[in-house]
């Protein structure tokens, strides 16, 4: 097992290199980060040339990549443009944990900018994921045990619709119903934008209140897909021989479901959840934009539109690492849960 883990980690390294090169080349051509640097005034040509030298943007792209990767504190920068490199570089490079400084918010380290926003995204995603797993297990099992009844048909129909819905539609619809209509009808209504009411301040209650709608929109869509999956898994498992054996032994139904069927039916869900974590992060981009939630997704959109390469690369590399490792962890958990699977 440990050999398997080591091999997987070793395989992940070249993969992350390919991803980083791919993204770096794309990002370096997405626009002019210097255009917005002079504030409202267009950047003066001499300032532009100096900034380019300072940021290393005048170097060929492979050198820029190397600087990004391993830093430039081993070489000197030609700051004044006289052809003699005199100022020593200060960047340490990604491999030493330095993602550089943001181009848009000057002087702020990328890591700090991301870490400012990451908790906001996580407090949306983690509860959402937990609700999704519980809800889809309950709904999936319930409708599988009542296959072809009216309730099963309704649940399958609804989950098909939910699974086909783009997240922004659910978000807009839920904002309209619970935010706007409820207000008009004089019912207690939910806030639709932001993380807290500026008049009240950032209290726990406020944040929770503002979390309800974004989490609701994210869960509806994901839970719909998962419950379809759980239902079909459950149907497959309850037609297995060992379930028939358990039944003929006279075990109570509850016991059969919870002990024998559920374990095997829920197992593949581990894989789906593990592979879907990046999807959840992507969903957060749209959700956060609609609900004006100050998380990573919003950060990404804001800085992408201003071509802030260091921040964008930081976010994307962080997500790629999460994806690669969540796949690895998924495989390990899977092997641990299912003794029939052995990796060598």
């Amino acid at each position: 097992m440990s050999r398997y883990i080591i091999r997987r980690i070793l395989q992940a390294i070249p993969l992350l290199f390919i991803i980083s090169i791919l993204l770096f080349v794309l990002m370096m051509n997405t626009g002019d980060p210097l255009a917005t640097m002079g504030g409202r005034k267009p950047t003066r040509p001499e300032d532009r040339a100096r900034l380019e030298r300072q940021l290393g943007l005048d170097k060929p792209i492979y050198m820029q990549y190397i600087f990004w990767l391993i830093g430039n504190d081993w070489s000197k920068i030609d700051m004044d443009g006289d052809g003699i490199a005199e100022t020593p570089g200060t960047r340490k490079g990604v491999l030493r944990g330095d993602f550089g400084d943001s181009l848009v918010s000057r002087g702020k380290a990328v890591v700090d900018i991301i870490m400012d926003r990451l908790p906001n995204t996580l407090i949306l995603m983690i509860p959402a994921e937990i609700i999704v797993i519980i809800a889809s297990l309950l709904v999936g099992i319930y409708s599988a045990l009542r296959q072809y009844t009216a309730i099963d048909h309704i649940v399958t129909g609804l989950s098909f619709i939910g699974y086909s819905m783009p997240i922004f539609f659910v978000a807009l619809l839920s904002m309209y119903i619970f935010g706007v209509n409820f207000k008009q009808w004089g019912l207690p209504y939910l806030p639709t934008v932001g993380m807290f009411d500026p008049k009240v301040g950032k209290t726990v209650g406020q944040v929770i209140l503002h979390m309800i709608l974004p989490i609701f929109s994210m869960t509806v869509i994901t839970a719909a897909g998962y419950s379809r999956f759980v239902r079909s898994q459950m149907l497959e498992v309850i037609s297995e021989d060992y379930i028939r054996t358990a039944r003929s032994k006279g075990l109570p139904k509850r016991m059969i479901i919870s002990r024998h069927a559920l374990k095997n039916a829920a197992l593949p869900l581990v894989t789906i959840v593990g592979l879907d974590i990046p999807m959840l992060l992507a969903g957060a981009v749209v959700t956060e934009s609609i609900f004006a939630w100050p998380g990573m997704g919003r950060l990404f959109i804001d800085h992408l539109s201003r071509s802030d390469t260091p921040v964008i690369m930081g976010i994307l590399m962080m997500i790629s690492v999460v994806v690669v490792f969540s796949q690895l962890v998924t495989d390990i958990i899977y092997a641990w849960l299912d003794p029939r699977i052995r990796y060598t």
Partner: protein, 317 residues
């Protein structure tokens, strides 16, 4: 599915005695038996008529005509779906937007299928280091969530393509950009299916026979193996159309997609959340059309999966 009633038994008996059906007939029969798939297919035809037939009632000038006096006016007799933030008629825009959204959905899938099939087929057929290289690349693409990749690419190609004049109309160049980037960020799943199919099919006797008669590699790939793995490609392609339409809507919704004045269902939604309270018609109509289209395509795809599954032939009652 067992035989539950006498009627079903007799029906089965009749079917056994009847002329054997061709595979095409079986597929059609099984598709038609899938009620939701038929419903989805009918809905899609209606939607196609709506967006391409609507041209008779509204000209594109009407769809792009701005009347700032009529900003955000609610649905009325002249504007059944209301008007948007700069006074354009939403009904006319959903018609022209539908054309672009549907065209993007279909064309992006064509790009996706071409790339996915080529990479999957080459990797599966040749194996060895080619396979290793291509699959590493596929995996790398897989590991960046599609939406992020789409947004980065939309920024990368954005504004670099001039407007295109076609059919006497002018389309924003961003339409082409969106088609290409959706295509090149969504082929990975298909490539894996095709590769897996090729890996198993290339060991079969008919491929050996083709080799011995001196058939070229290209001909074996495209004339012998590919037709045998067409079913999963069709199913996955159909479902991809829905994904492509949603992807377009996401990028346009975030403002990096198709640029105005060309309308799409997605870019009609851009900024609509600022008017959630005052002008719900801004997003209800284009949003519902997207949901309806995606739902119908998913129903059709589901029906196709059941109809084309060769293992289900035995089960077909």
């Amino acid at each position: 599915m067992g035989i539950q009633t006498d009627a079903e038994f007799f029906q089965l008996q009749e079917e056994i005695q009847a002329e054997p059906l061709t595979p095409g007939q079986i597929i059609r029969m099984r598709f038609l038996r899938h009620k939701m798939a038929v419903f989805g297919a009918i809905m899609l035809i209606v939607l196609l008529f709506y967006s391409f037939g609507g041209v008779i009632f509204f000209s594109e000038e009407q769809a792009n005509f701005t009347d700032t006096k009529l900003r955000l006016s609610p649905p009325s007799r002249e504007h059944p779906f209301g008007t948007d933030t700069i006074g354009r008629d939403i009904l006319a825009r959903t018609i022209y937007g539908g054309q672009i959204s549907l065209i993007i959905g279909l064309s992006a899938v064509i790009v996706e299928v071409i790339v996915g099939v080529l990479i999957g087929a080459i990797a599966g057929y040749y194996g060895g280091w080619i396979d290793g290289l291509l699959m590493r690349f596929t995996e790398a693409m897989f590991n960046i969530p599609q939406l992020f990749l789409l947004l980065v690419m939309a920024k990368f190609f954005g504004g670099k393509i001039p407007p295109i004049d076609m059919f006497g109309r002018s389309f924003s160049g961003s339409v082409i950009v969106i088609i290409v980037i959706i295509g090149i960020t969504s082929w990975m799943y298909l490539a894996r299916i095709v590769r897996a199919n090729f890996l198993s099919l290339k060991e079969r006797e008919f491929v050996l026979a083709a080799h011995t008669t001196g058939t070229s590699n290209l001909s074996i790939i495209f004339n012998h193996i590919l037709p045998n793995s067409i079913a999963p490609i069709i199913v996955s392609g159909t479902l991809s159309v829905a994904n492509a339409i949603i992807s377009e809507a996401y990028i346009s919704f975030l403002g990096l997609g198709v640029q105005p004045p060309t309308a799409t269902w997605g870019n009609m939604l851009e900024g609509a959340y600022n008017y959630i309270e005052t002008a719900p018609w801004l997003w209800i109509f284009p949003g519902s059309l997207i949901v309806l289209t995606v739902l119908s395509i998913n129903f059709v795809g589901d029906g196709m999966r059941d109809a084309l599954d060769p293992h289900a032939i035995v089960e077909a009652k």
